[in-house]
Amino acid sequence: MKICVLVKEVPDAAVEKRIDSSTGRMDRSGEKNLNPYDTHAIEAAMQIREGGSVPVDEIVAVTMGPESAVRALHKAVSLGADRSVHLTDPLLAGSDVAATGYALAETLKREQPDLVLLGQQSDDGECYTIGAVVAEHLGMPSLTQVIKMDVTDGSLRCERQAEYGYDTVEVSTPAVISVGDAINEPRYPSLKAIMGAKKKPLQTLSVADLGIDANRVGGEHSAAHWLSVKAPPQKAAGVMIEDEDTAETVEKIIAWLDERKLL
């Protein structure tokens, strides 16, 4: 079985995310890291390999993003991927979900994976939907938010929570599965793996290399167009208490609740 894992570089959660007012796009400068939700997808791939119920030939990390996104690929490789593919091109800048999903699907077609794994959401984009777009372009079945996956030859038995409780769904491969963060506890990379990551094969591809239709990607060609960004309605700030002396903190909470007749 060949597994492709989609990974993304996102601003570090500790850094404030902003909109660049001149372009109306997300300001993606500043500290970057591998999207934490994607580490669960890599771990899921590793557990399939180590589980041994089906032989895994290769785990390939795939990203679309600017030059700096190689760091996310290095991190993915240090966590267990065998090699990585980087789709990068100025023509892709500002792509919406549909355009991103299309470009990623074109990249994946070359790899012909039996299983595509993704994270449940990107920390900055928060669209939850790239998987469904990619699957449609690849003509593969797909599920999102999967928290348990049993792999047998040619099929996956997946569990996930949907609107009415937990569903169990059987999917035949090739398939696109985005995993929920409860599926596993991702491992930490070893120092050796971190050091070795840069030596693993990394392929860099452009829009032209893949025969991606340039009229279907990039901000100008994205069908969902951002007109503007505005501030949300202001809500009165709540009262904050820093817990130093717990007896005093509790007294303040009780007084607050009592004032509102909640006791």
Partner: protein, 326 residues
């Protein structure tokens, strides 16, 4: 024809409340656009009267397609077929999980623009503009569609349910072809309720616990605090702890759980992710205990306590008891 096709999710003979909101919203928008709002249901033997009941919410016609339930891709097939035949300008979805998957799949199929987590839609120059909060709700982007069909996926509870329609709507049966990939996913079991059947919807006070509790046993703190508050209090949970098996699904608040609006919602060790917030933000009073001063929950709490819940909760339980006994 600026008509809108609204997806209506149903389960065990009832239409999802968020879908009723989406149908109401679709009717309101179609009216302003000078078009019609139609609804579509996909399922196994959907009763005609269930479908027709959407007329009360403003659907002027309801399409019913026979197909597998609970999976997104068959609905993508059915809606793509309906849109090809009916010439709709927009597809609209209420909040939930399937709506995201269907809307995204449909966007790919139709090369259409899609906006998700939408909290408001307005008509401007004969077109829809969708408002979507971004960056943890710190800003709102406004999105227009440059494709033949625009796809709008609402946030949970974003659209108000309104019975404005004329009563039963005409029902039309739609036949469609399942795509090859849609046939490759099969529902084995649906809607399994994990954990005990607890009732939280009538409670005036909810003490909710999240991953910050550290372990399943620590839910005792939430239970004891609820007990201290008296009969009208119950315990709720986040998806993170329900997925981990620490607490029953029936107590889960949020996008794929329950929506509540108690007098008091006390959140302990909960970060305040959007998917949780959408299920409890209408609570009258929100109190949060979290050791991380930057936790998103403090952005929408009325009282925020930065500290370790394991230190604060035991003392708070005693203090609430003492106060209520005095």
């Amino acid at each position: 024809m600026p008509d809108i096709l609204v997806y209506a999710l149903h389960y065990e003979g009832a239409i999802n409340k968020n879908s009723l909101g989406a149908v109401s919203e679709g009717a309101r928008l179609a009216d302003q656009l000078g078009g019609k709002a139609h609804a579509i249901l996909v399922g196994e033997g959907v009763p005609d009267d269930l479908a027709a009941s959407l007329g009360a919410y403003g659907a002027s016609r309801v399409l019913v397609a026979e197909g597998p339930e609970g999976l997104a891709q068959p609905v993508v097939d059915a809606m793509a077929q309906a849109i090809a035949a009916g010439g709709y300008s927009y597809a609209l979805f209420g909040g939930g999980l399937l709506g995201f998957e269907i809307g995204a799949g449909l966007a790919a199929r139709l090369s259409a623009g899609v906006a998700m987590e939408v909290t408001g839609v307005r008509v401007e120059g004969g077109k829809l503009i969708a408002e979507r909060p971004i960056l943890g709700d710190s800003a709102i982007s406004e999105i227009e569609f440059r494709s033949e069909v625009g796809i709008v996926i609402g946030r949970l509870n974003a659209f108000e349910t309104k019975q404005t329609g004329a009563g039963a709507a005409p029902v039309e049966h739609l036949s469609f072809e399942l795509s090859e990939h849609a046939k490759r996913a099969k529902m084995v079991s649906r809607g399994e309720q994990r954990g005990a059947d607890v009732d939280i919807e009538g409670a005036d006070i909810l003490v909710a616990g999240g991953r910050g509790l550290g372990k399943a046993e620590a839910f005792e703190l939430c239970e004891n605090l609820a007990k201290a508050f008296g009969n009208n209090a119950a315990v709720a949970a986040t998806r993170a702890v329900v997925d981990a098996g620490w607490y029953p699904y029936a107590a889960q608040i949020g996008q794929t759980g329950k929506t509540v609006a108690p007098k008091l919602y006390l959140a302990a060790g909960i970060s305040g992710a959007i998917q949780h917030k959408v299920g409890m933000q209408a609570s009258e009073n929100i109190v949060a205990i979290n050791k991380d001063a930057n936790a998103p929950i403090f952005e929408f709490s009325d009282l925020g306590i930065v500290g370790d819940l394991h230190k604060i909760m035991p003392k708070l339980i005693d203090a609430v008891k003492a106060k209520r006994e005095s």
